[in-house]
């Protein structure tokens, strides 16, 4: 999967260091979704995915940031959200992406759920170096 879509709008960055920042990350996702004129269902899906990924960035990644931008390919517009942290990384990606598995006390549905909620999903992680998750939601 390619996530190197050309940017349309400027890249907006939100630091994720506190639980208030998770709310702000969600707001940034919603603003972009509205600007992109995603349907109400897709807006809600993107915002929910953002909420999950932002919380993972905070809780497991030890904090990081969200970069969001409007993107465009030949056929459609979209919103791209990239969550980055310099945390411990994910040793077993398949396990982390399986429904119901949590290393903590969560439901273990955030990461796998975010993948289902987004159209494109890209996860890069290095143990000891950090994790970057990129999602895109396209207009149909």
């Amino acid at each position: 999967m390619t996530v190197a879509e050309p940017d349309v709008g400027e890249v907006r960055v939100q630091t994720i260091a506190t639980s208030d920042d998770v709310v702000r990350a969600r707001q940034l996702a919603r603003n972009l979704a509205v600007e992109c004129r995603l349907s109400l269902v897709d807006q809600t899906k993107l915002v929910t995915a953002a909420s999950e990924l932002a919380r993972n960035t905070l809780v497991y990644g030890g904090g990081g940031s969200l970069s969001g931008a409007l993107v465009q390919d030949a056929r459609r517009r979209g919103v791209r959200l990239t969550f980055t942290d310099q945390g411990p990384g994910i040793p077993d990606v398949d396990l982390a992406l399986s429904d119901g598995w949590s290393s903590g006390s969560g439901m273990g549905l955030g990461l796998s759920g975010a993948r289902r909620l987004a159209d494109d999903f890209d996860l890069r992680t290095t143990v000891g170096a950090g994790t970057t998750v990129t999602v895109i939601k396209w207009t149909h």
């Binding site: 998770v22 709310v23 269902v41 809600t44 439901m107 549905l109 759920g113």
Partner: protein, 295 residues
Amino acid sequence: MEGGSGPGKNEVAVKLGSSDHLLGLMTTRRDELAAAWIEVVSQTLAGRISRAELDQELHELYAALVEALRAGGLDASGEHYTEVRALLAELSRNRARQGFRPAETAVSLFALKRGLERLLDDGSADDVAAYLALSRLTDELGMFTVDSFAASREQIISSQAEELLELSTPVVKLWDGVIGVPLVGTLDSARTQVVMEKLLQELVDTGSAHAIIDITGVPAVDTEVAQHLLKTVVAARLMGAECIVSGIRPQIAQTIVALGIEFGDIVTKATLADALRHALRRSAQRAALSVGDAA
């Protein structure tokens, strides 16, 4: 500066650490200095605090400063300044509560220097030493004032946030034996927790058998919110009560499904009215059952 018959340059340096002349000035020219100080402060506050209030506040502070200077010299963080610091903390608290800016608060102290300036027209070495001593004092106390102002602001903001949290989560009695809580706005973990605890408490207090959680006003339900909801439903069940979740809009329903959250055997209804109807039917059934038991 004219040297004249006054002390030379070296003597000024010696006197820098001394507060004697400052104390002398503040005692002998008390009325003049205090009046000049209050004058400057009242100009900057532009009538937002009554003159009488300001008079009292600053006179008290002035008296405390003189006392502290006499006993503790320029050691503003020392024990002799306890009273001064307490008064400044109180002043900061009041200013914060009244909505003043930090600069407007600190000026109450710094203006003392402007007051002193007015008295020092001849600029003798003694006067310079006094001015520098006061400068040093107000610098240190000014920092303290700004710090306590910031602490007060933070306290005010966090207590307002708590109040808002309480205000925005009303648990209402919908019917005999049925309570409801409409959730509105973004649900963070703290808020969801408050709502849920309140709901459970209200179940106990009213002896209700049914609780309706209406999420019509919630823009998104993620795993965290869902987990709080599920925990509440289970806790209510342990208390012998039934929770109904209403107001699940189409976009929320689709998101919950995509996330993979299962609500299991929790009763969900499209609208609050449907939920209330369900609750009433159930309590009618219970009533019929208990009548049957009694017969």
